[in-house]
């Protein structure tokens, strides 16, 4: 990846998830220089943490591989990981963007040989698996990581372990002295592709995610089902490692709720269909109950919903559960009213998956004033000067995000060529 050559015609893309990557490669392949800013150690964002996509049940890493190849082939994209935008000055055609980078403690000459991890002794929570397991304090973010470079956790800086890790690197790539840095970039357009975070399940106090181990979130389910997840893809009860027999999927866990997210997150219903499929593919005698207000499956995705409806071991209950209680055995008991039968139920389950919604990352971070025009929910309102791609602009599924990102690239190009 070359240094950016032209200044005012350069496009900055903030966020290296599927939307940011797409905006970057599409702009680059149309002949423009792009700076791609990513907060985490590697690109891929949320989709890299997904096991599979609906409705094809194919692997997100397949598309990521192609996109990473596109970035590798491109001479026009500069990628900055561990980086965030801390200030933006100027306007369309001429922005000065201040970028803040935090230390990876590993330099660009890392060959990913893994010698550092061999000598690391302490472990840190594994962010890639949403903290469901841990990794060595010197680690590769994940097997598809791009850039393919290790990270040394700040916790070992100034410790004998840190020194050992440093000494173990055959190419001297470990740098424990790295500090936060800031630098300015001149760009002609900024594309906000800052994506989303799962709505914090801890806020849904009635669903007891914090104190019932077998209540997990939909994103945790993705890791649970993933071959590189904490269980190598085995769907089990976190409490005892056993295969669940009764699974509940609870829709609108935070979404469509004026006390939490006022909007519908669009993807949760279909993601839950996928989760039903994960369970049914693995466990012959498992039954899945889907609790919902309205089943929302737009366009051809209706067919995907129908596929699950055909499975006699997947049941649908039109009800927003009121609360989850703890059984004497410590398992979750889902309580509510079945609105079609009027019966008030209290059903015990082995595993409950909360379909938590999508919250705009920027909203979660308190809408930086410099960033863009926001709507009431913290999504970037992209009909003004602001250019947004993917979920930063609203709750979208992957192909809609890519569509939005390609359009954002088009608008950005027009902004820098105007």
């Amino acid at each position: 990846m070359s240094e950016t050559t032209s200044r005012s015609r350069t496009i900055m893309v903030v966020g290296g998830g599927i939307a940011g990557i797409t905006a970057a490669v599409e702009a680059a392949e149309a002949g423009h220089d792009v700076v791609l800013i990513e907060k985490s150690p590697s690109l891929g964002g949320r989709v890299a943490q997904m096991n599979r996509y609906f409705p094809k049940l194919c692997h997100p890493t397949c598309g990521l591989e192609i996109n990473f190849q596109r970035i590798k082939k491109s001479k026009r994209i500069s990628v900055f990981t561990f980086s965030e935008v801390s200030a933006v000055k100027g306007g369309p055609g001429g922005y000065t963007v201040t970028v803040k980078t935090s230390p990876r403690h590993v330099k660009a000459n890392c060959t990913a040989c893994g010698d550092c991890a061999k000598v690391a002794t302490s472990e840190v929570s594994n962010a890639f698996n949403y903290g469901m397991d841990s990794v060595k304090s010197a680690y590769l973010p994940h097997v598809m990581a791009f850039p393919m470079r290790y990270v040394v956790d700040p916790s070992v800086v100034g410790t004998p372990e840190g020194e050992a890790i440093k000494a173990a690197c055959p190419v001297g790539a470990v740098d424990l002295e790295q500090k936060d840095e800031s630098f300015d970039l001149e760009v002609g357009a900024v594309v906000w592709a800052t994506g989303w975070r799962p709505y914090p399940a801890a806020n849904l106090t009635a669903y007891r995610w914090t104190d019932i181990p077998d209540v997990i979130t939909n994103v945790e389910m993705e890791r649970l089902a993933s071959v590189d997840g904490p269980t190598k893809g085995k769907i089990v009860r976190p409490s005892n490692g056993e295969a669940p027999k009764r699974v509940a999927l609870i829709q609108c866990a935070g979404s469509r709720d004026l006390n939490h997210l006022a909007y519908c997150s669009r993807i949760c219903c279909l993601a839950s269909m996928k989760h039903a499929a994960y369970v049914r593919e693995q466990l012959a005698d498992a039954t899945v109950d889907v609790y919902y207000i309205d089943l929302r499956a737009h366009d051809k995705l209706e067919s995907f919903l129908n596929r699950l409806k055909r499975d006699p071991q997947v049941n649908f209950v039109k009800s927003k559960p009121a609360r989850i209680e703890k059984s004497e055995a410590g398992g979750p008991v889902v309580c509510g009213e079945n609105t079609l039968t009027r019966e008030v139920y209290a059903e015990p389950y082995d595993l409950v998956v909360l379909a938590t919604g999508m919250q705009a990352s920027l909203a979660a971070e308190g809408q930086p004033s410099f960033a863009a025009d926001f709507d009431d929910y913290g999504f970037v309102f992209a009909e003004g000067d602001s250019i947004a791609a993917g979920v930063a602009s609203g709750p979208l599924d992957v192909s809609m995000s890519v569509q939005s990102a390609t359009a954002a690239a088009c608008r950005a190009i027009r902004a820098v060529t105007a």
Binding site: T205, A206, D211, K326
Partner: protein, 300 residues
């Protein structure tokens, strides 16, 4: 130490089933520098059933009259220890404040008794005063007989935090789902607040008074959870909760073949004891159907 005067609305139960709440709270607040000035000639708030016969304006009349009386005495905050009184006063006060037409209507009613109210007072729960005005450090400072080792289940109940976990000045004094303040009170007294998930479960409220058959199982569930936690005593801020859970234990034992015998106290009694105040005159421990003294004695 902060010294403050507040208008005090004890509520009907203060003269009957919850007299021991009233007694102990006055004693404790005194120690903590809060002067409680009774609202002159206060009346019933209508509780959870007044609306049925009283209707809209009837409820506004009752609550408006109290607020008017308080305002006539001064602008100080309007404090009440009773969950139902708090809910009704808070609710009607906010409505009156927020709706000019309604305010006029209510004042037309009050005028019949030569009273008026402009909606400017702030209604508060005595627990919220302890949290926000006094603070746990001040409470701890008064503790001379810490109730070490005493296992206490802090049972908040409903209306103390639902729906008004927020103060009238905005902001929350606690969460309606998993409130912490009662546990803080308990620990401030040197006792152990056991983790108690049933802390906001409902006792059946007035329905328990009129038709216990419908709600005994609710109280039984609560007592089951208390038992699970290994607590020796239940502490609550709510008059009706205290009465229901205490007086129905024999009936519950009869119906479900259980053997519950948990003392149910008010937080203010616990504080009075921890403050080393008089067991009867201040803590009113003698006014329980299930005497807490034996359990309290066990605390070292």
């Amino acid at each position: 130490m902060t010294t403050k005067t507040m208008s005090y609305y004890p509520g009907c139960s203060s003269q009957a089933s919850a007299v021991h709440l009233d007694t102990s709270l006055r004693a404790v607040m005194g120690k903590l520098g809060i002067t409680l000035r009774d609202v002159e000639d206060w009346n019933c708030c209508g509780a959870s059933v007044g609306h049925v016969d009283g209707g809209h304006l009837g409820m506004y009349a009752l609550n408006g009259r109290n607020l008017a009386a308080a305002q006539a005495q001064g602008p100080e905050d309007f404090v009440t220890p009773c969950a139902a009184c708090y809910l009704n006063s808070h609710y009607h006060n906010e409505k009156i404040r927020g709706d000019e037409a309604l305010k006029a209507e209510v004042n037309e009613v009050l005028a019949a008794g030569g009273k008026s109210y402009d909606g400017s007072l702030h209604v508060r729960h005595s627990c919220e005063v302890l949290v926000n005005d006094i603070g746990m450090d001040a409470v701890k400072a008064q503790v001379t007989k810490p109730l070490s080792g005493l296992k206490v289940a802090g049972w908040v109940g409903c209306q103390t935090v639902r729906p008004f976990a927020k103060t009238e000045r905005g902001g929350n004094y606690d969460a309606y789902d998993d409130p912490k303040f009662l546990d803080d009170f308990i620990s401030a007294c040197g006792a152990d607040a056991v983790p108690f998930k049933g802390k906001t479960k409902c006792c059946g409220g007035s329905v328990s008074v009129m038709s216990p058959d419908k709600t005994l199982h609710l109280m039984k569930d609560i007592l089951d959870e208390v038992k699970e936690t290994g607590a020796e005593v239940v502490v609550t801020p709510c008059p009706l909760c205290q009465t229901n859970l205490e007086m129905y234990q024999p009936m519950i034992n009869e119906k479900f073949g259980t053997d519950f015998n948990f003392p149910v106290m008010f937080y203010s009694q616990l504080m009075a004891v921890a403050f080393g105040l008089d067991a009867e005159k201040d803590a009113a421990l003698h006014q329980h159907l299930i005497p807490p003294q034996p359990v309290l004695a066990r605390a070292k």
